[in-house]
């Protein structure tokens, strides 16, 4: 199927793909900076900080993985036949 070929093509060109994605991320941040902020939506400080959700996502996602895996390894994870 053609679809599989496209994916394989992407996988072969990882370096280009990475560059495109980084450019995309930069575009996302720029979009949030230039975005018009009308008073109707921006009531709160959250709405006025540039790229607030960028920082929030990076920190939040990092903590979610670290804390999640951390607690799992600390005491939540057991062998699969733990309950018999």
């Amino acid at each position: 199927m053609d679809f599989v070929k496209y994916i394989d093509l992407l996988r072969k060109n990882m370096k280009t793909l990475k560059k495109v994605l980084i450019a995309y991320l930069v575009a996302v941040v720029i979009f949030d900076v230039v975005l018009p902020r009308d008073e109707a939506h921006a009531h709160y400080w959250i709405d006025k900080v540039f790229a607030f959700w960028t920082v929030f996502s990076i920190v939040g996602c990092f903590l979610l993985i670290k804390i999640g895996k951390g607690i799992a390894h600390l005491f939540l994870s057991k062998d699969e036949d733990y309950y018999g």
């Binding site: 995309y24 941040v29 902020r37 921006a42 709160y44 999640g68 994870s77």
Partner: protein, 586 residues
């Protein structure tokens, strides 16, 4: 249409006809039942139907208004998609259980009083458990029993609340309850409802049972139980602060486990808790926008979560496992399944143009509108976890990642069609949200495609993706089991068994011994006296009656063949005889 036909009837009667048809006709019937119910719902008008007097209370089977209709719509659509997905299942019992489950969910959402609701509520639990048991593995049978016991407990909470409510008000009308008037009765009912909505800490039954259900059964289960509970919460308890807080806690709790779980379907099951959390929080916030959001999200969620379970089920069906530690590289072998799964995943994550974007954001916006910024932040954190776990982790480790030994093919055609149709619906709702918004209980003034919202979601999704690829090694799924609240009753039961073995059985044995030595002697003496009295006095008075009874007994004995079919046949015959007498008398 003046006459109202309860859509549950199609499912109850239709499924009972299933064992009598064969081959193509059976498949047609399986699809025909939900089609009839869709037509029925399409023809429905708001109003109160099917109300009866029973024990001096009014019983309402058909409360049709905008709130019940939006749920009815998605239930019957899902019934069709689920039936299509399960079309290849051979066992009639599986289809019958599924139909009873859907029928009773419809019964619950149209119920206008607690008694009717309670009956359908229990039928739901008792029919859905068969969708777990039909997996026919030891783990499923055990999980099914736990599922049933927990739901019986929830039913008892609800029942207690219902009785107290009756005691307090003298009726069982199920209507909106205001937080200021709520007493112990209302909170019992709320607890019973919350258990079915998997509200913390009454949630552990869900990730325990759903991953052990059959491939097709899980698709049904993920749609109906929790969403019926969301409906009753939206009906009865909007504006309860406790729901806003617990709901928001659920959103994060669910994704937390979804991030660390290994089994695809368990990731999805935990993620139901997270998604239902948004709806519960919406109900708790209680504004028109929030309740609308809860309904819209329930609608969208049923479709994309079913789609995800269909995709994960297809992988399990074709490879024999849903454990990500054993999977990988499936995109080469199941590309269509992957595309459909990814459509579900980006819908649930709230990508623009897909259904989650237009539904989830209503609830987040309602928190924002009310100035509940903490709730909003936690919900967006859960949004990050959603994309991280369901979107990226499962897709990556199942369809990409390192190549596993397991090779597979695409699933049967009916499964692919069901996934394709569901994907199409997720997309249609995303690009044309009006179809969904027009169904909502309150008039909507909400535009999801505003620039700030678009920017917010793009940042959240894109940078979650970035962190995922930076930390992907950390997220490697591990073949482990993660403890949850079910530990208390699973290990608690073990403690009880030990107690029983060591203490209760010892006391019991001692008591038995005491009884044998002392009690029996007294009993024998007594018996011999009364026997003498019986033979000499009573039989003398009513002469001949003992003989008649003995004769009749020997006839009855012939009926008691010991064959179960004979008993069932006889019971059905007697049932119809009684029914005939009753109807004739009316």
């Amino acid at each position: 249409m003046d006459r109202w036909v309860h859509p549950a009837i199609f499912f109850f009667i239709g499924s009972l006809l299933l064992p009598f048809v064969k081959g193509k006709a059976k498949k047609l019937l399986i699809l025909f039942i939900p089609v009839l119910s869709i037509i029925d719902v399409a023809l429905m008008h708001a109003g109160t139907y099917g109300s009866y007097r029973f024990l001096n209370m009014s019983i309402v089977f058909g409360r049709v208004d905008r709130l019940s209709l939006v749920f009815a719509w998605v239930f019957v659509i899902m019934a069709f998609l689920g039936a299509l997905y399960a079309l290849h299942v051979k066992e009639d019992g599986h289809h019958v259980a599924g139909s009873f489950y859907i029928g009773s969910s419809l019964g619950a959402i149209f119920a206008g009083d607690y008694l009717t609701l309670f009956i359908f509520w229990e039928v739901m639990a008792f029919s859905s458990v068969f969708l777990v048991w039909y997996r026919k593995e030891r783990r499923s049978i055990e999980a099914g029993f736990r599922y049933l016991l927990v739901h019986v407990f929830g039913g008892l909470l609800f029942f207690t609340g219902m009785m107290l409510y009756y005691y307090k008000t003298g009726n069982l009308v199920f209507d909106r309850i205001f937080p200021d008037n709520a007493g112990i009765a209302e909170y019992f009912i709320l607890a019973g409802f919350s258990l079915n909505a998997a509200v913390l800490p009454l949630h552990a039954w869900l990730p325990d049972a759903y991953p052990e259900a059959t491939v097709e059964g899980a698709v049904f289960m993920c749609a109906f139980t929790t969403k019926t509970a969301v409906y009753v919460l939206a009906r009865g308890f909007p504006g309860f602060e406790v729901l806003a807080i617990l709901g928001t806690a659920m959103t994060v709790y669910g994704v937390f486990y979804a991030v660390i779980e290994n089994d695809m379907r368990r990731v999805l099951a935990y993620h139901i808790i997270s998604q239902v959390g948004y709806m519960v929080a919406g109900v708790g916030i209680g504004t028109e926008l929030a309740v609308n959001g809860a309904c819209a999200h329930a609608f969208a969620h049923i479709l994309y979560k079913a789609l995800l379970f269909m995709g994960a089920g297809a992988v399990l069906y074709m490879t024999g496992t849903a454990k990500m530690s054993k999977l990988g590289g499936l995109y080469k072998y199941m590309p269509l399944t992957m595309i459909f799964y990814v459509v579900g995943a980006i819908s649930i994550s709230g990508f623009p143009l897909f259904s989650g974007f237009v539904s989830k954001s209503m609830i987040v916006a309602s928190a924002h509108e009310k100035g509940r910024l903490m709730l909003m932040a936690w919900m967006n954190l859960a949004g990050i976890g959603t994309f991280l776990s369901v979107g990226l982790k499962v897709t990556y480790f199942t369809f990409f990642g390192k190549e596993a030994e397991i090779k597979a093919k695409e699933p049967p055609k009916n499964m692919l069609w069901a996934m394709g149709l569901t994907s199409a619906l997720c997309f249609i709702i995303g690009v044309y949200p009006k179809v969904l918004y027009d169904l909502l209980p309150f008039p909507v003034e909400y535009h999801p495609y505003s620039l700030p919202h678009l920017s917010e979601m793009l940042q959240i999704l894109s940078f979650t993706g970035l962190v995922f690829f930076l930390l992907v090694k950390k997220l490697q799924p591990e073949a482990k089991l993660n403890l949850d609240m079910d530990w208390f009753y699973r290990k608690g039961a073990w403690v009880f068994m030990k107690l029983d073995e060591r203490v209760i059985s010892v006391v019991d044995a001692f008591w038995g011994e005491l009884y044998r030595t002392v009690g029996l002697r007294v009993l024998f003496k007594n018996a011999s006296i009364s026997y003498g009295f019986d033979r000499k006095v009573i039989d003398g008075v009513v002469d001949g009656s003992a003989l008649t009874v003995r004769e009749a007994g020997s006839i009855v004995r012939k009926l008691q063949t010991g064959r179960i079919q004979a008993y069932i046949g006889l019971s059905i015959f007697l049932f119809f005889l009684i029914l005939w007498f009753v109807l004739r008398g009316m």
